[in-house]
Symmetry: D2
């Protein structure tokens, strides 16, 4: 039997934390060695997430007081709030230079330290790590991820927008002006903090946009889209909240460049993801539904012809907690530790 | 006490039918004199819609066999399926030329008979009525509605898109190319017929687009937008289904024309709807939620600045069964019968 | 035109507050003269509940600093948290002895001061008011309510259980031992405070019981059931949370006494509520659904025969925010001010 | 690598069919060799369940025309409608006497042919098979299942009621009179057929009971409870529909026998399920939620003290499509084929 890597999950009391535990419990090469949750330190994981009641898991501990140099962790998933992350990881990597890290926050996604300062309103606390960190969209940056010590796991909205758009931008197949990404997310994307606006009674039986016209996630999109296109690309992006738990669907409006037809855009995506383990391009004209990827690490992509000549509508769907967060994080772990890419994250979608 | 108009509801076993009954039961100048539902003829309304169990209502009858000439109806709401409508109304108006009609189907919305034939694949069965019918978007065509005998009640998606866009097009304040209307609807918009795709287990906890790239509702949009702009306007329009019962939200991406700023677009809408009873323009930068108009005849509209220079995001929300169907139909009835426009349809939204 | 009573709503930022405002806005004899919300004082009601955006309403104020003696309020609805209520109302009624009060908290529902102390763990702060207060279940205590200055509006669970059971207990038609009330409530019953357990992602797509074996609401049931039966009655009662906004359904298991059949129990309820404006007894064997009373002040009751000989299953359904709270409160106001009992609360249910 | 059993799924276009496929796709010892769906014959599984789009699966075929004698199937899951099942399995087992069968319908659950005729209104079409069939509640009948050729997989409601009650009845720890099982199920329990009453708009945002006082599932309960107790046991049982996809929760009211306390009842369950792979008894006083077993084969059971002396409230929760249907069916397959009981069905619950 192969040895198991010792894994830590920092911030285990949120939804990305519980998703990591759900999948790691069935990962043949992972051992959950540490779970942290500052406000719930001392409690059993089952009291925070009763679904784990039948399982043996480490008691939740506080980050403060951990001696990273003796913890013997092979890899740490960091699911901590923005900014805290920078300080914790700086300390951890200094004390335990052999530990690898997959960070699920937005803190290390921008390679440009000045872009970070502009969007977040303050200097980065670990600028040298920010430069080293590899952006963890496995379908695009696989080679770098395999060699990385610190991987910045992409955001859920941005993963959903990048997977269909990056191949089109790389191929210079669409106009870079006028791209519209109309995105819709389930409620788990907003996390587990107790806010009035996230109560069931506020959210169910209704639909709305938020952060209209400007959203931090756009910094990540600008960086990756511009790199793919070889020129500055700024898209219109509006996030919405759907009364459901899981799933993101992006409806993307594009104009074919130099006469590229919707069918040709579809062909580009089909070829690009021909061998991808977790991206599935539907037959031309079919479009995906979030429910059909729920609980799985798949992204489904569809392309349809718009009735406005020359325009195509590209739609992508994924589970924000899996491919949009924890599944992608384990995919990155698999690459970093030399495991098969699909190990432990090959669950079939749960529908209905 | 003022006399009451005798009202018929043709097609009372669907959701627009039950909404008409809900509001007419509390309308001070309406008497529900006839309810039809072919497949449920002979049954009590309470067996089709148990919420009406405590109320005295006419037994459901079949349309066939009605003698319109002696029915003495002042006004009929027609909520029948496409195509059937044309035949029924042709017959009804021939036999009862004094009866007024508000038709909730799509059958009389296109004034151009050839456009009808093109979109629906067959000749119209009542072309002379098609020409006479008035398009019943009260905020735009109030004068004609007051004098009409036959009003074609607008569709739910199209009402939601027209109310924000028509004033902007009339004012030539936005570019007519590249308009994107990304629309999201609750499930009641799909009606009450028993289809696998509409089962709770198929629809809940998920989100998807449908009819991508082409949808019959667009004919209505093309007609009204082109009329407002004074030139042909064809928008990109994608409908989606939200796991909720009621509500439509349209996220509309526009480019200001000749330097018109988002703030100026907002100002145009604010002025246009200054005295409107059922359209409310939110302060600049605020955007609406479907839940805040649920059960009411209101449309809420918001305008925000896109981060892409020169572009604005306009969002509108309404209840598809009220302002998008039966509430608007009663609004038209009020205008046609000379009642105050808000009579019987001034319920405050039910939230949460 | 009849004069309007000046109405205050204390605690207008919760769901019972917004429901009061929703109905009072359309009540022909009520003027909303004061809205309080301590934490939101100084804000417009539209910023707390955007559905009121088109309406003219008083700005939210803090309770502290109100001079009740000059406020000139005819009636106050008090929707404040437990315990606070006692202090506020004691002060208010001392300063404004002509103001009538409908209290929506549990503070004045127990007439026995020692029962209060036992269930709530402390002495009542206004014991003399506690004794004077009339229990506001209009269908049972109408005569006393009409003359009352302070009415304690019943709880939502308890209204739903009392309306079917009290007539049966008064008629000594069922055994008083072994009664089981299995109750299910929508999420608005839990209020609007920001708690993790009430987040959409925690609550949707699942079902659970809570407070199993003991719940404060039982004190109210014990008091009223024992009074009706003329002997001590203690029922088994389990509340559950349903992933929906509104509605309570109680499934009640009873044994007919001295050979009383389920049909005879049905007959008793039918007769008891023969003239009731807001209680509707369904034909024998039919049982109600919460959706068919949503947004209305109705309670629907059904009786069916259990297959276990001699046993019946009685099911009742109401909207917890209307008949279970604010609608019943306005019903009480109507009785206290001499208005028709149904005034302003005769909305038909909103389904779907 | 171990050989894989060749598996057929009869009736693959319903929800129990898709759940079988979901789990079998990841079962290390199963090969999906045949999928039938009469009305969808000739179609790809992906057109019936798009979540399987990325997977290689047999094309759907019709049952008619299958030559069972040459199909070479090791085991068949039969998820066909009531009555059809009897004819198909009679034929199949005659032609392929070495094929094992797990039947998910109710057709073979009653061992008493006269009880079958009484509840279903006609004679059984395969009475000799009915007698041979083993009732497949693995936690109770494991030994017989291991040797069986035909296993009748228990119903979802009845599994949820039996797992907590059978140990208590076997131990004569509770009174057999007056047991109340108040059961609540998600919508997938009603299957995938297109019925008006199951539309999203009919079902969401509401709650109701159905089949009150009598339900076919009770025959199965009567049989198993009476066998466990050694005397006739007839419980009150009311099923309800919850607006969610998956999950059943049973709230069970019992009276301890001969002074047995709720704590002692809890102890009995704890001991009984001490080594069970899929039943988890919570600490005394804690009660389960359906969401915490979603997608998993677990049943969670809790016991609490009722305030009525001597009475206990026992609550059980499972996923109706997994432990209530397809997961339990694979558990039975594992036992019948000599595989480890948990193989392929050890997924951790998907929450949120």
């Amino acid at each position: 039997m192969a040895t198991k890597a010792k894994i830590g999950v920092l911030g285990a009391s949120g939804y990305t934390g519980s998703e990591l535990v759900r999948m790691l419990l069935r990962h043949p090469r992972a051992e959950i060695a540490m779970l942290t949750a500052d406000r719930r330190a001392g409690q059993a994981m089952r009291s925070v997430f009763p679904q784990f009641s039948p399982f043996d898991l480490p008691t939740l501990v506080s980050i403060e007081g951990q001696d990273w140099s003796t913890a013997g962790l092979d890899l740490v998933f960091c699911a901590l709030p923005h900014a805290t992350t920078q300080k914790v990881l700086k300390d951890l990597l200094a004390k335990a230079p052999d530990t690898k890290v997959v960070d699920l926050s937005a803190d290390f996604r921008l390679s440009d330290t000045s872009a970070y300062a502009r969007w977040y309103g303050h200097e980065h606390h670990a600028p040298e790590l920010q430069k080293e960190a590899v952006y963890g969209l496995a379908e695009i940056h696989k080679r770098e991820i395999k060699k990385a010590q610190l991987v910045a796991n992409p955001g859920c909205y941005t993963t959903c927008a990048q997977l269909p758009l990056i191949p089109l931008l790389k191929n210079k197949a669409i106009e870079t002006d006028g791209i519209v990404v109309d995105a819709k997310s389930g409620m788990t994307g907003a996390g587990r903090s107790a806010k009035e606006a996230m109560l069931f009674s506020e959210v169910s039986e209704g639909f709305h946009a938020y952060g209209v016209g400007g959203h931090r996630h756009m910094a990540e999109l600008d960086q990756e889209f511009s790199a793919a296109a070889g020129k500055e690309v700024i898209v219109s992006f509006t996030p919405h909240l759907v009364p459901m738990n899981r799933g993101i669907l992006s409806t993307i409006y594009v104009q074919g460049r130099r006469g590229k037809t919707p069918e040709e855009l579809h062909e580009i995506l089909l070829n690009f993801y021909d061998k991808a383990d977790f991206v599935h391009v539907l037959p031309f004209g079919e479009t995906p539904q979030t429910r059909h990827v729920r609980g799985s690490n798949w992204t489904f992509i569809g392309v349809a012809k718009d009735r406005v000549p020359g325009r195509a509508i590209v739609i992508s769907a994924l589970d924000n907690l899996v491919k949009g967060a924890s599944g992608q994080a384990i995919q990155n772990m698999n690459l970093m530790l030399g495991y098969p890419e699909t190990m432990g994250i090959d669950q079939v979608a749960l529908f209905p």
